[in-house]
Amino acid sequence: MTPVGNTALTTFDAIVIGSGAGGSSAAYLLTKAGKKVLILEAGPNRFDFLDAPERQPVSRFGQDELKCEHRGFIASNELVDPRSFRNSPADGERLLVGSVNPLPRTVGGGAVHADLKMPRFMPQDFHLGTDLAGRFPGTSFADWPVDYDALEPWYTHAEKVLGVSGLAGADPFEGRRSGPLPMPPGSPMYLALKASDGLRRLGYHPFPYPMAINSLPYDGRPHCADCGLCSGYGCPTNAKGSPPVTTLRKAFLTGNCLLYPETRAVKLLTNGTRTEVTGVECLDPEGKTVTYRADMVVLAASPIEDTRLVLLSGGFGNGSGMLGRNLTFHFQTVAIGAFEERLHGHRGKTVSHGFSDFRGRPNDPDHPLGGIVEISGSSGPITVSKYSAEILTLLQQFDGPRFKHVVRSGAFRERSMLLAMQAEDAPQPTNVVDLDPAVKDLDGLPVARVTYRNHAFELSAREFYKPKLLEVLKAAGARWGLVLPADEISGSAHVHGTLRFGTDPKTSVCNPEGRFHEVGNLWNADGGLFPTSSGFNPTMTIMALAMRVGAAMAFPGNPEKALSQ
């Protein structure tokens, strides 16, 4: 394991736990403001030269489906690092042990494997408490303590840092922008153009998806060559603006940042009154215990792991009783269309277009709150051949010749279109992360247990939009269409809540700046803060919010000062 950054640093203003979308963004802002930052990342580093000013980083990813999708190159592993799951305490201690909403474990976190779809949230997404609280029993809708206007300058800043391509104003439902996107959209995918034609005929509004992927050379990184293996893959060319080559690299180049890979934070040390964090106990790459100290500590290891770490440390800072509660994902509804024609959906960025018409409005029965819809195609031949075999097995028709015939036809690879709606997942205080009483990880530490059940709120929205998704597929020219069954355990990598921020310490864990109400130097800078999930991919909002958190740490009371630096 080789540290990355300025190895001469020995004292730090802040420790950031996790180097993904949130942690890297907070570190970027802190180091830009002159703070000395130590980043602790549990996973390995798969880039060279991240801290080299004279040359661009080299990715050790590749167009390698086996490595990235089937051998878990950067994935958490359920054999040694599992989670447990149940729908409610009535299920007993757990229903299963295994892979439960894991995020990648690598320098750059989940934002390395994501294809970095970067829509902003809509202005209405920040005040769903005002609109919906008390209307749906069992839910806990709450307003965000910041609104769209307060976050807008941070959105604009993050879009520039990452390099977002797209077309401002193309989504008629988006909020106001103070500036254009840094780059125009990249090459459109053929299947997206077909879908867009159908959508327009139905009166909907498709648009080029905003993505942190270079459509043109930008910030020293090349344009995207549309290799096709994007979502689920680290980028071989660095055209994708993932944290290692954007926020983290910029932090390293200040000289104020050091990152230790393969270093797992396992305990937060506190003072006697548990109002200050005094150190972070870790396991180093060999599994030996080591402690690091700084004035401030930032949790950014994902909402589930952040909560787990606080609970492993005794569960402090929880006077509200909200720690670990209000866990949300995105409730995904996926419709698949099968075409006679070849759509070559494996060429591109996984997604080039989407539409927001199904996001809906609060309290509008004609437009219930769903979410943005991504238009995509197929993935690589290993994945598609495996699910082709699954389909034939399901139909009790698997035999070798038929399987090979289906694979050769490209039926499920070249001729399919997917519509994936990322819908609002109603927050519920009973959807919670805690520690499993018996299941352990490889180091003997209790794993996170997820207790989660969908609410009728999102289930009814799914039923509302299912026929409309099929209608879109038909309009696009599909011959067959179907909607996949809903996940019994959410498969979404969009994870939010558990450390909800708000103005009232009685109902929230963190304050509007992202600091724990009850712990003076402990902050959160990832999706853990989200009071509600919205219906849009969360990474842009996580990064904008985390930059604002970093700025609030560097410039107490005046975070906007960081924007003028």
Binding site: G62, E65, S187, M189, H223, T237, E262, L394, R408, A411
Partner: protein
């Protein structure tokens, strides 16, 4: 066993020398041939039986079956990956050398990157433990699995495959030389879990990058109609002279495929899709 590739053939592929036939649009790099010899776990008899079973999953016809694609070699490399001199579990990156760099105007240049896939990447502490458990099981892993007492021991892939192949050979000692019907019968006699395991390993081996030991000469990709890894050229190029994006005519991004469909859907495949749609509550659009 039908036409399992020889080690010489495997090494020829690893050198990159066979790449030209896999991707007609590209020429290979001329990387030096590394003298690679990987350890084996399976006996010759076991390899013969495994070849027959994976050929039951992906049988030979006018195109190669799984064993001819190198799936047996792929699986044996997986089983010995943690042995001294074992093959890497993770190929390197970013490029394989099968596609060239673009020229300044975006067209394919004559310059190819080195094959970085040959430089395997190591495992961190967590991955090392996980792969040890997966391949060798709780009994072959120091300290066992973290939840053996609660969930039971993990059975390693090596033991699982050896048991599966031993049972298959007991039922059909001449399995390695069986005909299509014999291979299919042996496959059908396996448990659902074992059939699923072999399907997954076959797909992994037949359609992964050739550096892992399968997909010889890119023939698995060709079978699936897949272009293979195309970077650094890719499907969209940037013409620095004109300052505009361009596409490759033979592999369009935003336009329909040109030319006749070489593999149009037939009635058999349409029937599979239609049944799936009906089973899932979907519909056929008229």
């Amino acid at each position: 066993m039908p036409s399992t590739p020889s080690r010489r053939e495997v090494l020829a592929w690893v050198s990159g020398a066979a790449a030209a036939s896999a991707l007609p649009a590209c020429a290979p790099s001329s990387a030096p041939v590394p003298p690679v010899v990987f350890p084996r776990f399976l006996t010759d008899a076991e390899r013969g039986a495994l070849g027959a079973l994976v050929d039951a999953v992906l049988p030979p016809d006018d195109l190669p079956g799984a064993s001819a694609l190198g799936v047996v070699e792929f699986i044996d490399r997986l089983l010995t990956a943690l042995e001294p001199d074992g093959a890497p579990l993770f190929a390197g990156g970013p490029y394989s050398g099968r596609a060239p760099y673009p020229a300044p105007d975006g067209s394919p240049s004559r310059v190819f990157p080195a094959n970085d896939f040959l430089q395997g990447l190591g495992l961190d502490r967590v991955q090392a433990k996980a792969w040890r458990l997966y391949l060798y099981g709780s009994d072959g892993t120091p300290g066992g699995g973290p939840n053996d007492a609660l969930l039971g021991k993990t059975v390693g892939l090596r033991d699982r495959l050896r048991g599966l192949l031993g049972a298959a050979l007991q039922k059909a000692p001449a399995l390695a030389t069986a005909d299509d019907a014999g291979r299919a019968a042996a496959f059908k006699a396996l448990s659902q879990e074992d059939r699923q395991l072999l399907i997954e390993l076959t797909c992994d081996g037949a359609f992964s990058a050739p550096e892992y030991g399968g997909n010889l000469r890119g023939a698995g990709w060709a079978l699936a109609g897949y272009e293979g890894d195309t970077l650094p050229l890719g499907f969209t190029q940037y013409d620095a002279v004109k300052g505009a994006l361009t596409e490759r005519a033979e592999f369009p991004m935003s336009k329909p495929e040109s030319g006749a469909d070489p593999r149009p859907l037939d009635s058999e495949t349409r029937a599979v899709i239609a049944q799936l749609a009906m089973l899932a509550g979907g519909q056929e659009f008229k």
